[in-house]
């Protein structure tokens, strides 16, 4: 009997908690409806396509290849990123560069974004600092998979 009473009080307390949440949030929603500015908002929701969350500086977004001063890619086609990639989504073909200081350059450089898991290992592995994931671009959904194959032109642009 006492246990039942304690449970009953707990039940009432629970409903009071949700009622409080409802009332407080509803109050701020109503204020917003009448265009009254308040510090607090009725909901924690970020309405995505219209408002966007600020991307953290260390966030790993879409890859980009860096350029030398003369506009060629900084990549020397050493294949370290291809080796380290856990989802095997990179494909690099090397070609010989006339400059003996550089020796090699990538003739094709393809990242299959449909397989990429955005671990950032390629960025860590790169000895030339040629690839970075700091474009802050996170919306690149496509209707077909082959449009997710990003080649050298797309990555460097």
């Amino acid at each position: 009997m006492i246990k039942a009473l304690v449970n009953f009080i707990a039940i009432i307390k629970g409903s009071l908690l949700t009622t409080r949440h409802f009332m407080v949030n509803m109050w701020f929603h109503t204020l917003k409806l009448f265009r009254i500015k308040t510090k607090r908002k009725g909901a924690v929701t970020i309405q995505y396509p219209e408002e966007k969350r600020e991307i953290a500086p260390r966030h790993r977004s879409l890859h980009r290849l860096l350029k030398r001063e003369d506009g060629k890619p900084r990549c020397v086609a050493c294949m370290l990123c291809v080796t380290v990639c856990p989802s095997e989504c990179m494909y690099v073909e090397a070609a010989e560069d006339p400059d003996p200081e550089i020796q090699k350059y990538p003739s094709t450089f393809i990242i299959d974004l449909s397989r990429c898991c955005f671990c950032g290992f390629c960025v860590e592995a790169c000895p030339e600092d040629a690839i970075r994931m700091d474009t802050e671009q996170i919306e690149f959904a496509e209707y077909t998979r082959d449009r997710l194959l990003y080649d050298l032109e797309k990555l460097i642009g």
């Binding site: 039942a4 039940i11 629970g14 409903s15 908690l17 949700t18 009622t19 949440h21 409802f22 949030n25 509803m26 929603h29 009725g42 909901a43 924690v44 929701t45 309405q47």
Partner: protein, 359 residues
């Protein structure tokens, strides 16, 4: 002839009221749960740039359900499978005929009761129709010919039958206090005053009965704290084999039950269309003084009061649904048979003793 037209107009008005509010309860449920959980809720459905905080959402849902494939499994009993949702829908929808929305409206020397039919046993009628709704559930469970749906249907029947007992017993005290089974008469009795100033509502005369009725009626709606027939996290429920609009009908029936339970709570325990101290000719306050009003405004006040009370109880039921976790099967049965039924018996005995003492 004109009587028939009046009846027809009343039926159309009441059904439209009932269905539109039940439709918008789906939206209210989504919005209210969102506000409780610090979210925003459905606000994206729009017609040509206008969103109106998501008020078009129920229509978007309905259109989606209309165009979904209505699949009947090969192994089901086809006729009953198709019939079941309509049975459960019909028996809830018909209960609105007994709900009094207001007192009489006088237009052109004619007295129109704001109630579709005012017959002598309307309370029993509503109870009977609500319990016949079980047939829809158990037929759906059985005719789908699937073990889980059958289990859901059986559980639904067991739950509804056991709570039917508590529901019926909790109302006996009320019937003793207001000696009538006629809903309009019960509402009229509640217009009197207790000790000259408290309105004689059921909540003041039958607090325990109200509590039992509320729990049992919540169980009747078979929503979350008592969602045994559905049990989405264990047996998916009696409508597993339904899709499209027939599934939507089951869901819609749930919301209609919420609405009819709110109507019953209002009518039986919170004075129905009564506004405290409002009489046929206006307000007469217990501390003296009066505020006389024309007939039309008094009726408008009554209908408004009824609607506000109903909305409050819809809100309360949705709040309960989004506050509490669901009961296990044995817990529901324990609560029903070991707590609510004895308590309602105690309520009957206590009411009888008090009434014989006071006279």
């Amino acid at each position: 002839m004109s009587d028939w037209i009046i009846i027809l107009i009343k039926i159309i008005c009441a059904l439209v009221w009932f269905l539109v509010i039940a439709l918008y309860l789906t939206w209210v449920e989504r919005k209210e749960s969102a506000v409780i959980q610090d979210r925003i809720g459905a606000n994206r459905a729009y017609i040509w740039k206008f969103r109106f905080i998501g008020l078009f959402q129920p229509f978007a849902d309905a259109i989606k359900m209309l165009f979904k494939e209505d699949f009947t499994p090969r192994f089901s009993r086809r006729f009953l499978h198709n019939l079941a949702p309509f049975i459960s829908f019909f028996f809830v929808a018909i209960t609105v005929s007994a709900i009094p929305f207001g007192d009489v409206l006088r237009i052109g020397g004619r007295e129109i009761k704001l109630q579709i039919v005012d017959f002598n046993v309307s309370l029993l009628f509503v109870m009977a129709m609500l319990s016949l709704g079980i047939y829809g559930i158990i037929l759906a469970g059985w005719s789908s010919n699937n073990r889980y749906t059958l289990l859901g249907g059986m559980r639904g029947a067991a739950q509804l039958i056991s709570y039917e007992v508590a529901l019926g017993l909790s109302l006996i005290g009320l019937i003793m206090v207001y000696p009538s089974l006629k809903l309009s008469a019960i509402v009229h009795y509640q217009g009197e005053l207790l000790w000259g100033w408290i309105p004689k509502w059921g909540v003041f005369l039958q607090p325990l009965g109200l509590l039992i009725f509320f729990f049992a009626a919540m169980a009747e709606t078979k929503r979350v704290p008592f969602d045994l027939p559905e049990g989405e996290n264990e047996i998916v429920g009696f409508f597993t084999e339904y899709s499209g609009l027939k599934w939507g009908l089951f869901m819609f029936t749930d919301f209609m039950e919420v609405l009819i339970v709110a109507c019953l709570l209002t009518t039986l325990f919170f004075g129905g269309w009564q506004v405290p101290w409002l009489y046929a000719d206006g307000f007469h306050f217990p501390w003296g003084g009066a505020w006389l009003l024309p007939h039309g405004i008094v009726v408008a006040f009554q209908v408004l009061a009824f609607n506000l009370k109903v909305f409050f109880f819809c809100w309360l039921q949705i709040l309960v649904r989004w506050t509490y976790p669901r009961f296990r099967y044995d817990q529901v049965m324990d609560l029903g048979w070991k707590l609510l039924v004895p308590l309602s018996l105690v309520n009957i005995a206590g009411t009888a003793i008090l009434m014989s003492l006071i006279g």
